[in-house]
Amino acid sequence: MSFKIASSPHQHIQKTTAQLMKLVALAAVPGIAVQAYFFGYGVLIQLLLAIITALLCEAAVLALRGKKVKAKLLDHSALVTALLLAVAIPSYAPWWLVVIGTAFAIIVVKQLYGGLGNNLFNPAMAAYVLLLVSFPLPMTSWLPAAPLQQQSLSPADAVCTIFTNFSCSGYSISQLRQDADGISMATPLDTLKTDLSQGYTTEESMKKPVFGWLSGEGWFWVNLAYLLGGLFLLQQKVIQWRIPVAVLGSLFGFSLIAWLLSPDTNASPLFQLFSGATMLAAFFIATDPVSASTTEKGRLIFGALIGGLAFVIRSYGGYPDAFAFAVMLANMTVPLIDYYTQPRTYGHKSKGAR
């Protein structure tokens, strides 16, 4: 008989990284389901592609780096990265898009920086930005929500479209996006941006069918589903309230000011909150622990920065949605934020950096 030596504490909360990641994936399920309902089964195929690519890349790089492949794969962080990227790109985008994006996210953004915990940027968002600037057309080719689609698309159509660029019945993506008049339909954010630049007022633009109720046909429900997932994560204490609240709060605040000043050229705050990737970003992307700020105050600043940047880019930038850029820009500031928002240690007078 011999006794085992271990360092204290001898007790651990039974909540490991892998479990946290699984909870994040679980919380995303309602959002994905709603997305699949409104924007086609393509999203599921994208998800599958992304996950396979992510796991393969992760395993390959870990093996090359001489790490314990199995143990590290089982932390499920690659899974979450794949998931976030897959739901962010259009459902019927060609297969190579998501493969390139995921491979870039895992190999370059995550592993080349030292693996989980060492990456400066959120891998999914960095990959999204790469794809967006490299392949702007497929990356913005969102189909209109299901009720507006002229052709109903089966799962088989989704497979065909993703792998051949044409649906089983031979329609191309751009054809699928057309409405009854043969005019290509864009996302609500895109439409609004285009219309505003052409001199329409917000109110006039909002009359278009893509907007549906409040913030866009389908998009509202997708956002609502991610909000639910986010609340679940909060309840499970997987994420803390500070970042999502700061993101949403600052986006709301900025858009409210802008909307009050000039309602004709600015979307309403509620539209901003429930359109595009707002909820996904606030609860799932900005809260990625690795690339977010780690201090309490820092998290508020970090979240507010994302919200503010998102609003600015949405309103004045060249891209319809902005969270990927906002998150990446905020990621860059994290070391600085962390440094200057160090909490006051017990028994010390001054706080932060000395």
Binding site: A6, T16, L20, K72, G117, V290, Q342, Y346, G347
Partner: protein, 753 residues
């Protein structure tokens, strides 16, 4: 705005940052009465069980001691004694594995109880009747040190000069499992309050705050009942949260004050004591029972009986566990203390000490061991849990990088090692362990820095001293030289010697200006190497020669002489290879000097030979020739002669490196200087040699003749009247030698090779 005191009176309790809520599992043991154990077969009483130093041991192995008898005595303020927990026999005072995470062995007294449990006479005190100093003395003599965990001597903590606002009694016991204090409060509340009253007498605080977690309603009720109507005693129930029992956290909870970093609670007018300590004080003062037992929680699912026991200090953990029905698992962990801050032990013979409040023997299911450390995902859960508002992941980063500056910047020293960060870490990183290692490294670095500073100071002081001494010697030397010249001229007898001195001085002056020729030095070294090779070939001869040496110490009577002789033997053996057979053979007889000075002669001879040893490396004949002189000196003067010879040879050794014959001839001159003239001759010779040595390094041949000439001139008087050296002559010879050395050294310094 109510004042702080008003707020406290009103029952306000504050909060501290972070904290965690691990499963407490206290219900297993907090409803059973404290059990008494049989006296164990052996008690292992570590001599030091507190922070500070051990006392002086008062008993011997084999003594019978009575229960409560002091085994050690405090010799300074930081010491507290230990006492015999029961009567019995002192079996041993030896090293035994300590009840410490390191498992290092510490001096421990082993007691074999005789089962009589016989008390020494006891003298209870009435705290109302005695003064503060008597109380403090009693507290120290009773071996009381903080029983909450750190083990700081209580008499120091309660001996305060500053005014104390609040005496906080820590009854929080926030670690899971542990109910030792809880049970003590439930069973002995009135004793605890009596102890607190003694503390109040010592500290005279404005108020007594008793902090207790709200999961101990019975204990809190017992305390309140025991307090009765006393003024300014407040029992404050704090929410159950780990680590609210930490000193700093409890202060924050009860008074909303923070202890400034690097200061003590006393600096903000607060003294904190554990309930266990208060109880021990009551027992020590009122019943004269020193700290010889304590309540220990024994818990864990491998035990049939999880309970609190009153264990004698020194009881081996194995006895404790076996008494509770211990069934070990294959990978069993035994933890002293709670699951958050306790430490695992490798050897269960370690004893219960004054700070042992809990022994855990959990199953693997119950307290799963941490799985492999994963990468930090920067989730910040640790920072949220940290009661000191630190940034544990930054600290982890810098701990791994061993960046001590950054660690200081991020206030590693404020970490209380509570383990909350490691508890919540999803990657199961043993954060606290990293911090402990880093802290130990920092302490080591500080120690090293301090030592470096001291070493530097000592080095500088030494350098300065050497410099000063050199200067002094130089001055003295010049004075003496002047005197001598005057004397010599007056006497007119020793013109030859004077001439020699003159010559020597001239030579020094000549050479001091010259620089050394590198080629010559190299050639010199080559020559030495060749010689060394030659000696190695003579190894065998040398080995045969050693027996002669071994006989030498035979005449020496006292052990010291024997030791010296032995040392000599070793010295020879050490360099036997290089040493020359003849040297050994010839020097040995010196030790057989018959009369009372034999001892000293031997010492001298030893020194001489030690030098000869090295000398031999360079020059065989040098040793060969001088040694007969030793044997020839039969009487009182033998000693002095020998000393002189030794000194001479010491010089010869160095000289020899450069110039063989010079030594050969000059040494006899110094051994037996008969008269005034002889003395001067010796002086001259010494000076000459010192110089010759240097000179030789430059130019070998001319010097040889010069030195020869010098010594030859000096020799004749010596041969006329041998072995009648008066005492002062030897002394002067020694002085001369010193002067010679000083000069040689000075030269060395000014012309380093």
């Amino acid at each position: 705005m109510p004042t702080l005191f008003q707020q406290i009176q009103a029952g306000k309790v504050w909060d501290f940052h972070g904290g965690i809520h691990p499963p407490s599992r206290k219900e297993r043991t907090n409803q059973k009465p404290v059990a008494l154990l049989d006296i164990p077969d052996r008690l292992y009483i570590p001599l030091r069980q507190h922070i500070g130093v051990a006392g002086k041991v008062l008993v011997k192995v084999g003594d019978r001691v009575l229960k409560g008898q002091a085994l050690t005595q405090a010799e300074n303020a930081m010491a507290v004694p230990v006492h015999a927990p029961t009567s019995g026999m002192v079996l041993a005072i030896d090293l035994h594995t300590s009840t410490h995470p390191s498992s290092l062995a510490e001096p421990t007294l082993v007691l074999a109880p005789d089962g009589m449990d016989e008390w020494r006479p006891r003298k209870p005190l009435d705290p109302e009747q005695v003064d503060v100093y008597t109380l403090l003395e009693r507290i120290q003599e009773s071996g009381i040190s903080g029983m909450g965990g750190a083990g700081f001597p209580t008499h120091i903590k309660v001996n305060v000069k500053q005014p104390v606002d609040y005496l906080i009694i820590n009854a929080v016991e926030c670690e899971p499992y542990i109910t030792a204090d809880d049970m003590l409060m439930q069973e002995r509340a009135s004793d605890i309050i009596a102890g607190i009253e003694i503390l109040v007498k010592l500290l005279s605080p404005k108020a007594v705050l008793i902090g207790i977690e709200d999961d101990k309603p019975i204990a809190a009720a017992s305390l309140k009942a025991a307090i009765g109507q006393k003024d300014n005693y407040f029992v404050r129930e704090v929410p159950t949260k780990y680590p609210s029992g930490g000193e700093k956290q409890l202060i924050q909870l009860l008074t909303n004050k923070e202890v400034p970093a690097g200061r003590r609670p006393l600096d903000i007018g607060i003294v904190m004591q554990n309930v266990g300590t208060a109880f021990a004080i009551a027992q020590a003062v009122l019943d004269d029972i020193p700290l010889i037992h304590r309540v220990v929680t024994v818990a864990g699912e491998t035990l049939a009986q999880q309970q609190n026991v009153l264990a004698l200090i020194g009881t081996p953990i194995s006895d404790l566990l076996n008494a509770c029905g211990f069934q070990a698992e294959p990978q069993q962990r035994i933890i002293i203390g709670g699951p958050m801050m306790g430490f695992a032990i490798a050897d269960w013979s370690v004893p219960v000490v004054k700070t042992t409040n809990c022994v855990l023997a959990p199953t693997e299911n119950e307290l799963g061991a941490a799985s492999d450390e994963m990468d930090c995902i920067r989730c910040g859960a640790c920072a949220d849990a940290c009661p000191a508002s630190l940034l544990p992941q930054q600290l982890l980063w810098y701990s791994k990088a061993k960046d001590q500056d950054k660690l200081a910047e991020y206030n590693l020293s404020d970490c209380i090692e509570c383990g909350a960060c490691a508890y919540v870490c999803p990657s199961e990183i043993p954060l606290v362990h990293y911090y402990r290692v880093a802290k130990a490294d920092i302490r080591e670095t500080q120690r090293e820095a301090l030592k470096a500073e001291q070493a530097k100071a000592r080095f500088d002081a030494r350098t300065e001293r050497l410099e000063r001494e050199k200067q002094e010697r130089l001055e003295r030397n010049q004075q003496l030289a002047a005197q001598r010249v005057a004397q010599q001229q007056a006497s007119g007898q020793a013109t030859q010697s004077a001439a020699a001195v003159q010559q020597a001085l001239e030579r020094t002056q000549q050479q001091s200006g010259q620089s050394l020729d590198k080629e010559q030095i190299i050639a010199e070294r080559e020559r030495k190497k060749a010689e060394a090779l030659a000696y190695q070939q003579q190894k065998q001869q040398a080995q045969i020669a050693t027996p002669a040496e071994d006989q030498a110490p035979g005449t020496a009577e006292d052990p010291r002489k024997a030791a010296i002789a032995a040392a000599l033997a070793r010295a020879k053996a050490k360099k036997q290879a290089e040493a020359q057979p003849e040297a050994v053979e010839q020097t040995a007889p010196a030790e057989i000097a018959p009369d009372m000075d034999a001892k000293k002669a031997a010492v001298a001879a030893a020194i001489a030979r030690a030098k000869a040893k090295k000398q031999a490396e360079a020059q065989p004949e040098a040793v060969e020739q001088p040694t007969p002189a030793d044997t020839a000196v039969p009487e009182v003067d033998a000693k002095k002669a020998a000393v002189a010879a030794a000194i001479a040879r010491a010089k010869a050794k160095k000289l020899a490196e450069a110039q063989p014959e010079a030594v050969e001839q000059s040494v006899p001159a110094e051994i037996a200087p008969p008269e005034v003239d002889a003395k001067k001759a010796a002086v001259a010779a010494a000076i000459a040699r010192a110089k010759a040595k240097k000179l030789a390094e430059q130019a070998e041949a001319p010097l040889q003749t010069e030195a020869k000439a010098t010594t030859e001139r000096a020799l004749p008087p010596e041969r006329q009247e041998p072995a009648t050296t008066p005492e002062q002559d030897a002394k002067k010879a020694a002085i001369a030698a010193a002067i010679a050395r000083a000069k040689a050294k000075k030269q060395q310094n000014s012309e380093p090779l």
